[in-house]
């Protein structure tokens, strides 16, 4: 998504937040319960035990990757007792007079221990933290109707190719489980309709007289009846958000936030073996 993200840690959860403080583009929230990621988790701060800071994603990924490779070596050697320990520290880097904050990754291997310091920003102030918390609360407004898209690969393929045809995409979501995408320019109208998807939340039964109408007419009728909602998004943003399917989510849902504030795409990942 981007180079830098905010890592927001609370007593219960760890959030990776991208672009939440700007009003434009894709906002991305990845949340993990502490039990999902950590065996042991201790946090304390003067700000109700919440800590937030900015971190370079590629550096973070590099540190985690190397930790994983060392840990898997230990696993092979038969001892899994020593795991990856992550600490928030302040250190004095060489040639500096001021201590800087780091996220330290400590991996105890079979024969060696590796410590990696990933530089992070200064922890966000109470006011900034509050701003982030508010944005997070807003981003987590669950849309009244969610539809599940079974074949993300197909959808991404289609949207990727759509990028050549136009810039603005109208996304409509129907209470009876339809997802309708359409680009309209002066020269072309191009759309796709996926029907009979699984619905979570507010549902409705599709009127039988609508069945044989064209996708556009059906969309207009459903919106006027209040059975559907639509938003306009940038095709590029939409396509980018679908890239998340590369991380192989277990399921994906699409919904429109109340008042058509945004298109919400939810990717769900289950802990392996818990489905």
């Amino acid at each position: 998504m981007g180079k830098v993200c905010h890592l927001f840690l609370t007593r219960e959860k760890a959030y990776f937040l991208h672009n939440l403080l700007s009003g434009e583009g894709i906002q991305c929230v990845a949340q993990f319960h502490k039990e999902t990621l950590f065996d042991d988790y201790r946090i304390s701060s003067q700000n109700e035990d919440c800590i937030a800071f900015a971190i370079d994603i590629s550096l973070l990924q590099r540190a985690v990757r190397s930790g994983v490779s060392i840990c898997s070596e230990i696993g092979a050697a038969g001892s899994a007792a020593n795991r990856l320990q992550i600490k928030l520290v302040k250190k004095l880097p060489p040639n500096c007079t001021q201590a800087m904050p780091f996220l330290t990754f400590e991996t105890k291997g079979y024969k060696s221990a590796v410590i990696q310091d990933v530089p992070i920003s200064k922890p966000l102030s109470r006011a900034q933290g509050l701003e982030l918390q508010t944005a997070l609360d807003m981003a987590q407004d669950i849309p009244p109707t969610l539809v599940q898209v079974p074949d993300l690969n197909q959808l991404q393929n289609f949207v990727h190719r759509m990028k050549h045809v136009g810039d603005l995409l109208k996304v409509s979501i129907y209470k009876y489980g339809d997802l309708h995408l359409q680009i309209s320019t002066t020269l072309i109208t191009l759309g796709a309709e996926f029907r009979k998807l699984l619905v979570i939340g507010e549902k409705a039964v599709a009127p039988s007289e609508d069945r044989n109408l064209s996708a556009q007419t059906r969309s207009e009728r459903a919106i006027s009846r209040g059975d559907a909602q639509s938003v306009q998004v940038s095709v590029k943003h939409f396509s980018k958000s679908l890239q998340c399917h590369l991380a192989k989510p277990d399921c994906a849902f699409f919904g429109i936030a109340p008042q058509g504030a945004c298109l919400t795409v939810i990717f769900q990942f289950f802990i392996p073996g818990t489905r």
Partner: protein, 302 residues
């Protein structure tokens, strides 16, 4: 435009195609720049798409009715309309998904004279498009390709080799001389510009490269490099992969005709080791033709 066009109930054409990618490949072969206007002509024999540039270069894509699973033509005369080639090809491309052949239906005209395309293979997922058409405003340049003399001056070369040769001629650039001579039977491409480069195809030396050759007298013409390049610049990968040949004919006045074959066969039916056009039904081939006018100051050796 035929009178039936007004009646949406009986469109001029309804056809269905099961290999969208083949169609996209065929159309892409004649895309040599970003914005190109194309004229589409419908007939009982199939669909012809024509693009041209400054009266010096014309390309045609022949989509015979045999390429289609279903082809219902009911117009009087031959309806013609203009579309943006790039938009049409990009639009069709969204219908094609890798590893999965989709059935599409093309219909003309729609209620507002649009070209309508929709996928028809799944009841629960549908892709549709309406492409705005316009009255074709370009007056087709009268290329009138005629054979030069009693025996045709023609050669067939591996498409990949032709593309490579033309790509290599980029650095001398500007104008390229094509020379055919009967003794020794050979074709040479010669570029003179920033430097000189000559590429010779000898008929008997390498029959793998030059597949056929007919020439009874020495002949040479010069062509603008950019037009020559347009004939192979967007040659679809499947043409190279299928190891096809391209036929070049020099007509009266030095008019050059370049013909490529693009497969529109269903991928599932395709034999993995197809090594020539002969293995496939000829009816599943789209013909691509380019007509290139020679440069004015040609020096013909007759």
């Amino acid at each position: 435009m035929s009178s039936s066009a007004i009646d949406a109930e009986s469109p001029d054409l309804v056809c269905q195609l099961d290999n969208v990618q083949g169609l996209v490949d065929a159309l892409s072969a004649v895309r040599w720049k970003r914005h190109q206007d194309a004229v589409i002509e419908l007939s009982e024999h199939g669909i012809i798409l024509i693009v041209e540039e400054t009266g010096c270069l014309q390309a045609k894509v022949y989509l015979q009715r045999e390429l289609f699973v279903r082809y219902e033509y009911s117009a009087q005369g031959r309806p013609r309309f203009g579309v943006s080639l790039g938009l049409f090809a990009d639009c069709l491309n969204t219908f094609s998904a890798p590893g999965h052949s989709s059935l599409i239906e093309i219909r003309y005209p729609g209620p507002d004279m649009q070209l309508l395309v929709k996928s028809v293979d799944s009841p629960d997922a549908c892709i549709y498009a309406e492409v705005r058409t316009r009255i074709p405003d370009m007056i087709s340049w009268d290329y009138n390709f005629e054979p030069a003399g009693s025996t045709p001056l023609t050669f067939t070369v591996k498409s990949a080799a032709l593309k490579e040769a033309i790509d290599d001629l980029e650095w001398p650039g500007s104008s390229i001389q094509i020379k055919l001579q009967p003794v020794p039977p050979s074709v040479s491409f010669k570029g003179e510009g920033h430097g000189d480069l000559q590429i010779d195809f000898m008929y008997y030396v390498n029959t793998d490269l030059l597949i056929a050759f007919h020439c009874d007298r020495e002949v040479s013409y010069r062509y603008k490099y950019k037009f020559l390049r347009a004939t192979t610049s967007n040659l679809p990968g499947c043409v190279i992969k299928d190891n096809r040949g391209s036929k070049l004919i020099i007509g009266r006045g030095g008019m050059l005709k370049v013909q490529h074959l693009v497969s529109v066969a269903r991928t599932s039916n395709q034999h993995p080791h197809t090594d020539s056009a002969g293995y496939q039904q000829p009816s599943r081939i789209a013909y691509i033709e380019f007509f290139v006018k020679p440069e004015e100051d040609e020096d013909t050796i007759n």
